[in-house]
């Protein structure tokens, strides 16, 4: 059914059994959600659609796009943007913020430990082969000191929300998490296109991310440098996230460089300028470990900087994130995160994991095999939604294939129950409809951690879909964190 523009767009909206981010009653929102619904209704479906179209046009004009490459051509696409914002109350945010800080602290402690004493492995809390045998483990990092013990300077923590409204961590992104530019741009877009929706609501601002990030990058620069030169290293304009790189470079006020712009001479890193070589002290890199230095990792990499790792190891340049962090955000390690937090911090995880069964452990494998049709089975060390089997939706043949794969290499798998992701009203062809959401807050850590209020809310635009990745048909929403009530 397609609703006409005049009816209340919420009339036909039914989130079913899922937690709805806008219609679930939350006493601590102080009426914000109701106010927002009223305002959305006042604009009406036609109004929403017209303004959304204008907003998309704006995105295209601004070139806020990612690039999809096929053989014949390169097409610039915008990340689909849904104009109905997601609301987070002040108390919810307090909890999330504390939770992701705790988690980032644990990740950094973990990384420091595995590249130094390996206490956690020696004590058997985490299986040693899971770490040392991991493809993302970098022996080059062993015994290498990083400033403040911070390996993960920028961390994106993926959260979901179950039927009860409980936030759970789905995944840690400790390598080169992306998407933060959308958080800021979405807010700008909402300010331009829907100023009336937020009028009078006190929202936590998001526009100082660049400044915070730059401050952290300056902090981590090699000691003794007076005015450290920070750069952002991008694979170049053909990278699908190029827009985000530009955005961050501009927001930070640092040069955006490509590999070819940097040269290493005498174990120091320089950039090529019209006036000659200019020293560089901190590199916020948006290139994977493997491509960073063809002299050390993949020799065929054209986007890297030969000699970079040497210079880094000499302490002449800082890299953010550090090399070798991939070992910490592995799905296999994820399962152990509650134990890791307890090990290093002596606390329980503030934000629980999604219940996870580690198939390398006998009970885990047994449980998984027994409940295969009810579980989501995920490979470890992969990302992007590929290779996943969702039990309740899988055919008998698919289940059989998954079972075989599990038995062949149990250590490569974990399983989780189907999390019923929360939903938010989303503008579709039919009208406002519930669509599943996740949330990725970003944590910036130099000497200390700072969490960007809100984060990226991704939405699965297909009905019933749980896959929120942009490459798989996901979109995004602006995330509104309400300010603490005034004292």
């Amino acid at each position: 059914m397609v609703e006409s523009g005049r009816t209340n767009p919420f009339a036909a909206y039914d989130p079913g059994r899922f937690f709805c981010e806008l219609t679930a009653g939350r006493p601590d929102d102080r009426g914000a959600a109701a106010l927002l619904r009223e305002r959305i209704a006042a604009i009406g479906l036609d109004g929403l659609r017209a303004r959304a179209r204008a907003a998309e046009r704006d995105l295209i004009d601004l070139g806020i796009t990612f690039t999809v490459y096929s053989e014949a051509s390169a097409i610039d696409r915008i990340l689909p943007f849904d104009c109905i914002p997601r609301l987070i109350t002040a108390s919810e945010w307090t909890r999330i913020e504390a939770g992701v800080r705790q988690r980032v602290a644990a990740l950094n402690a973990f990384l420091h430990d595995v590249y130094h004493e390996r206490r956690i492995l020696k004590e058997g809390v985490v299986p040693a082969e899971l770490v040392l045998g991991n493809a993302n483990y970098r022996p080059e990092m062993e015994d290498f000191p990083v400033r403040f013990g911070t390996y993960v300077h920028i961390c994106g923590t993926d959260l979901v929300r179950d039927e009860k409204g409980e936030f759970r961590v789905l995944e840690d992104n400790a390598r080169t998490p992306s998407g933060v530019s959308y958080v800021v741009e979405n807010r700008h877009l909402m300010l331009r296109a829907f100023p009336d929706l937020m009028e009078g609501l006190r929202l936590r601002p998001v526009d100082d991310y660049g400044m915070r990030l730059r401050a952290a990058m300056v902090e981590i620069a090699p000691a003794g440098v007076d005015a450290p030169q920070v750069v952002l290293l991008s694979p170049g304009i053909y990278n699908s996230a190029y827009f985000e790189h530009v955005f961050l470079a501009r927001e930070m006020g640092v040069p955006l460089v490509e590999g070819a712009d940097l040269v290493v001479d005498n174990e120091r890193v320089f950039m090529r300028t019209t006036a000659g070589l200019w020293p560089v002290h901190t590199i916020y890199r948006r290139i994977g470990d493997d491509f960073l230095d063809p002299a050390v990792f993949r020799p065929e990499s054209l986007i890297g900087v030969p000699g970079l790792i040497d210079a880094w190891r000499r302490g002449n340049v800082a890299l953010a994130n550090a090399v070798g962090t991939g070992v910490a955000d592995d799905k296999a390690v994820y399962a152990y995160m509650p134990r890791i937090i307890r090990f290093y911090l002596g606390e329980d995880a503030i934000l629980p994991n999604v219940e996870t069964h580690i198939c390398r452990e006998t009970e885990g494998l047994a449980y998984t095999l027994a409940h295969l049709a009810d579980l989501v089975v995920k490979p470890v060390g992969e990302s992007g939604g590929y290779g996943i089997t969702i039990g309740p939706r899988a055919s008998a043949g698919e289940l059989a294939k998954a079972r075989a794969a599990l038995l062949a290499n149990p250590a490569n798998w974990i399983s989780q129950p189907v999390v019923s992701l929360s939903v938010g009203p989303t503008l579709t062809e039919e009208g406002l409809r519930p669509r599943h959401l996740d949330l990725r807050p970003f944590t910036v850590t130099g000497r200390e951690s700072w969490v960007l209020p809100g984060g990226l809310s991704r939405v699965a635009l297909k009905e019933g879909s749980l896959i929120v990745n942009s490459s798989q048909g996901g979109g995004s929403k602006d995330t509104w964190v309400l300010e603490e009530p005034a004292p």
């Binding site: 295209i60 004009d61 601004l62 070139g63 005015a227 030169q229 304009i237 190029y242 530009v246 470079a249 501009r250 040069p255 955006l256 460089v257 490509e258 070819a260 712009d261 040269v263 001479d265 950039m271 090529r272 300028t273 019209t274 006036a275 000659g276 070589l277 200019w278």
Partner: protein, 327 residues
Amino acid sequence: MTAAPLLARYAEGMFWMARYVERVENLARLIDVTQSFESPGREAEAWYALVRINADEENFARRCGAVSPQAVTRFYLDDTTNPTSVPAAMEAARTNARTLRPLISTEMWKQVNQFHREVMETAPDDLEGDALSRLCARLKEGIQAHTGITEGTLFRDQGWHFYALGRLVERADQTTRLLDIKYHLLVPRGREERRLAELTQWGGLLRAAAGYHAFRRVAAATFDAADVVGFLLADRSFPRSVLLSLHEIEHHLTTLRIRYGLHGTADALERAWETRAAIEGRSAERIIADGLHEFLDRVQRDLIVLAGSIGTAFFRDWRPFAEADSP
């Protein structure tokens, strides 16, 4: 606190973005003038001159074959696969702008981006009848908006100087080529009784260089070929004259050298100075008597070398340790 100097890649991007933008403007103007001033019965010749000015004879023959107004406009305005077309130039300008995104204002990028899309949406209908002149007007207006934003938002730092160099080099090159081709179309016919017809053609040439009214104001009454050649080559206030372009090129190179200590400008400066001296040293009559084509040929070669030496000094081929490393 000193800011970091300009990345070499940015300098290159600025230079090339400006060249492509200038190219779009020149093409739009040429097409507009050709269409407004085509002589009855001699359309094909007029349109083919456009192809020759852009040194596209082979390229055109391969892609289009026979010359007709329609073929030429399609070739330059609606053929994205032709590397010398307006869409191709705009694509290149945008790619460079994308590279420069961290450096240029949001307004500037947004305008390039919008304008690029507008150019890419050119449809065959836009080349028909009166739509063509409207299209050319839109193209020119788009470039003028680009220039205005650049003027108002681009800091006058190194990047701006490279931007200016790009526009000026391209402009000087276009003006010499325009003069070369048009002059040879006109002069061999020079029988006295056709003088007026030629003057009319010169008017078309001046319009193509956007200098018609300026010239009218300078040349009080009648004029001849030498006046036009002199104006386009050596006028000191006409923005598209070769001399003024060279003069400004020198200014920008000198600023880069003095204010930013870029000593790689030496070669290019010398080249600009020599070319300028060659133009200033001789009257238009003298240049024509000695062979205008040969002279323009030399200026063009000089410009190529000039652009090359800017490139060698600052852009792609720049090898910081090449000399030290070589045995």
